[in-house]
Symmetry: C2
Subunit: 300 residues, 2 copies
Amino acid sequence: MRETEVIERVRAMASAGPRHRELIRGIGDDCAIFRPESGWDLVFTTDFVLEGRHFTLETHGAEDVGYKALARSLSDLAAMGSEPVFCLVSLAVPNKLADQWTRRFYEGLLTLASAYQVTLAGGDLARFDHVIADVICCGRVPENQALTRDRAKAGDRIFVTGTLGESAAGLRTGQGKAWKRHLRPSPRVEAGQALRNMGVVAAMDLSDGLALDLRRMCDESNVSAELMDSLPIARGATLEDALYGGEDYELLFAASEQMKLPRAIANVPITEIGTFAYRTDVPVSFRGEPLEAAGFDHFA
Amino acid sequence: MRETEVIERVRAMASAGPRHRELIRGIGDDCAIFRPESGWDLVFTTDFVLEGRHFTLETHGAEDVGYKALARSLSDLAAMGSEPVFCLVSLAVPNKLADQWTRRFYEGLLTLASAYQVTLAGGDLARFDHVIADVICCGRVPENQALTRDRAKAGDRIFVTGTLGESAAGLRTGQGKAWKRHLRPSPRVEAGQALRNMGVVAAMDLSDGLALDLRRMCDESNVSAELMDSLPIARGATLEDALYGGEDYELLFAASEQMKLPRAIANVPITEIGTFAYRTDVPVSFRGEPLEAAGFDHFA
């Protein structure tokens, strides 16, 4: 297939998908055009999905790769407490995948896009020896209300949505519910917005494992964290999966002592896992020991 | 180097660069935060730069790759007549390039970013066997004034900025001014905004060669185009370079018969190269023959 044909097909698929009212021009020009309503802050994120690094063609279907590529970026939007608006998709594929594989990639991506009313507004297309996807997402949040990772305070309780370690367990075992969750993670979009409405101000998503991501939140907020002895580990997952496993895409957040939180949001449980304290030499401690900031380091 | 160290260095480099007043949070959280002023449309584009496809490590310096990665996206912003605001940069590199090469990549990118007051607001970082960069740019343009490629009309004259074929000639010869232009193309940001202020409404950038890009403009505008016999071919370039060579990053635009245009904008010459007409079976003709829509096809 020629580039023009592929672009035309993506354009047709995108135009059959959701169209946000602020997105006044999508695929087909040098740029997408967005007319923002006033009173909103816009949030932007971009995430790679790389063959051999985040997936392989043998183990991951094209639909799954497309689904997950968008899910990674939507998880970042969720962590800001924002409402997803549109995405741009840069995709490079080998020639032999230009036709069917590419179509199925966009089908998987648009399945998730439709669930959250995300407009596919543009992107780039190239040929390469390996599959590379980079998904850029824009969300919006009422002015000055974005959740950030630098506002956890000493005395705040630490919470997570859902369960931990399931994606790592799925990657390890390659089967069952855990493998399905690894293939098609659920970005906590509803939870992020609900937490913001409840008054939560500090949050981030768990993409590289609790130990490493909690450390990042502690560093940005200049606090230390003490974890509880027991954590909401997923069925089939080990403690190590829960602490150091990547790609859970749950939300990690802080809530003051007084704040009342529900036991679940949109059927996703909310679990207290520890307490923030004034910063000490030990950024994160667990069962009386310093917890190493290990996890999925892209350069390690 | 570990991922955290690389990110911290990029964050320091970015914070020493330009900071747009609407960009209220840059690198360091799940998303960048942008608070748009009212009365502006936002435009978005994303472009890959892939090792072995757009450059090689042997022939292109790290600074040149960073510079060009941003230039490609700025050229799209220029084609919309917009003012650049911020960029996100996704970069994947092999381990051995994580330190010095990556630093120089960002230095080259920030050199161009500083020239146009573009804030480096975020991105993604990953390890991969090959260098991959994806640069996302946001620009702004007064509401409803973005230049688009679908508004050329029969009777309009066709113009280009600058000269054609120089980048292809540079790629072919690997030396002199043409090679420098291939390495560090100049996005026509000032010209795009000036043309919009003069009342031009239809424009696009020349990234895949005049023959292919003009064909795209004709298709989107539902017109045909007749080129003049002589074109502003760059010194050292052939007619084929000018018609089919990629990466000139000049602007192609339409202007009504009445519209007065200067001979140059910001020292870049403006040259009339043809006329648009009602759509016929021949979308683009040159010297009495149909001109094939050939050029840099990423899938060919």
